[in-house]
């Protein structure tokens, strides 16, 4: 067995060893005591609708060929920043949940259909995504310095996650079987979005 093989074996065993580490005991969710940057980092991950938007936008950008991840990301970053800063005016303290869900649904449908989408349309969806996620991430009223740190945390995590999903989807899109995987994943997002919209509609009717 060559040294390279041994190293590969060891790298496969490492995650198993890490899994064996005992988890920390948490009486309450990690989010309770968080504030500032850390709170902003965690915020999008705690809202299912935001997670769906992040996933579907990332998949959409990554699936398109030729790969041009920079163009949509350069639209998302300023749109998200402007929307997050706009929350400081307290005009919006959150937006209706069906809006981000509908946005995730649109992007996921485009991924499931797997047809080429013109770059301006992708950029428009990314701009809308940035605005929706930003406006829906208004922090509680706390000192301005902490609020700004929290907004920065949200900006960093959303940009990082969308880029990450897009990058790995772009890698996956090179293989036939993983293209199928992307479409199946998109169909799951569509299914969850439709159910969430139905639930929101039912709540609104009640």
């Amino acid at each position: 067995m060559t040294r390279a093989h041994q190293l590969r074996r060891a790298s496969l065993l490492a995650p198993l060893l890490l899994m064996a580490l005992p988890p920390s005991v948490q009486a309450h969710g990690a989010i309770k005591g968080l504030e500032g940057f850390a709170s902003g980092l965690v915020h999008p991950l705690t809202i299912p609708a935001h997670v769906l938007v992040i996933l579907s936008l990332g998949l959409l950008a990554g699936q398109q060929t030729p790969q041009r991840l920079r163009a949509p990301m350069f639209v998302l970053m300023p749109a998200l920043a402007c929307a997050l800063l706009f929350t400081l005016t307290r005009v919006f303290t959150g937006i209706p949940q069906p809006i981000p869900i509908a946005l995730a649904l649109c992007a996921a449908v485009l991924v499931a259909v797997a047809k080429p989408v013109p770059m301006p349309a992708i950029q428009a969806l990314f701009a809308l995504g940035g605005i929706v996620l930003g406006l829906d991430s208004a922090p509680e009223s706390v000192p301005l310095a902490i609020t700004l740190k929290s907004l920065l945390g949200t900006w960093v995590i959303v940009v990082f996650l969308v880029f990450d999903v897009a990058y790995y989807s772009a890698l996956a899109a090179r293989r036939n079987w993983s293209q199928v995987g992307l479409r199946v994943l998109a169909s799951w997002i569509i299914a969850v979005s439709v159910l969430m919209l139905a639930f929101a509609l039912q709540k609104w009717r009640a």
Binding site: L12, W188, L201
Partner: protein, 207 residues
């Protein structure tokens, strides 16, 4: 001399690694969960376990994957993509209390029909396969949707059951890929027959 001493060094390493894996898995700590079925996590867990614990749902989902792999070509992705989407529309109808006729009978029939289609190696055009799967998806979704608002967190319940359903399809596809080999075809068709029998059990209330 030990029989394994005669093995080449690479094989011995493979044996050692294989022996280590279960040992390491035994070290995994068991989490102590005081509360399980509450809040968002509770909704996610109950949504995820729902298709896994209901045998009628489980066999139908696996059958969809099996049939997709059996049909091959576009069907491998078209059926698992179509099913969750149509199922979600059925779920939406269930959430909004729109009645559908004979949902439970349709769910039991889905096992029988999909199982028979696999067992008899029926290969209709992909679009017809998608329509058949779609009709059953609608009924399964309706049953899930009716239970959705009762759960602790309907949104995470929806995520849980969609993901579990998709994973069952993937399990079915993985099994269905055995059709590449002649013996695999027999295994898959026997699997279809077993699914049809389970469906019959539900149809006539034996299960």
């Amino acid at each position: 001399m030990n029989s394994r001493d005669s093995l080449p060094a690479s094989s011995r390493c493979r044996w050692k690694a294989a022996a280590l894996v279960p040992a390491i898995l035994l070290l995994l700590p068991a989490p102590a969960s005081a509360h399980t079925e509450t809040g968002a996590i509770g909704g996610l867990i109950s949504g995820f376990t729902h298709p896994l614990t209901g045998l009628d749902h489980l066999v139908a989902m696996v059958a969809v994957g099996l049939w997709g792999a059996f049909l091959g070509g576009r069907a491998i992705w078209m059926l698992p993509v179509a099913f969750p989407v149509v199922m979600a529309f059925g779920g939406a109808l269930g959430v909004m209390k729109v009645p559908l006729p004979a949902v439970e009978t349709g769910i039991a029939l889905s096992g029988v029909i999909l199982g028979l289609l696999v067992a008899l190696a029926v290969k209709p055009p992909v679009i017809w396969a998608a329509v058949i799967v779609g009709i059953f998806g609608l009924l399964h979704g309706h049953a899930h949707g009716t239970e959705l608002p009762k759960s602790a967190s309907p949104m995470t319940y929806a995520i849980g059951f969609v993901v579990a359903t998709g994973l069952l399809h993937l399990a079915g596809i993985a099994l269905g890929l055995l059709v590449k080999w002649p013996w695999g075809k027999v295994v898959v068709r026997c699997g279809g027959a077993v699914i049809a029998l389970i469906g019959l059990g539900f149809l006539f209330n034996f299960l």
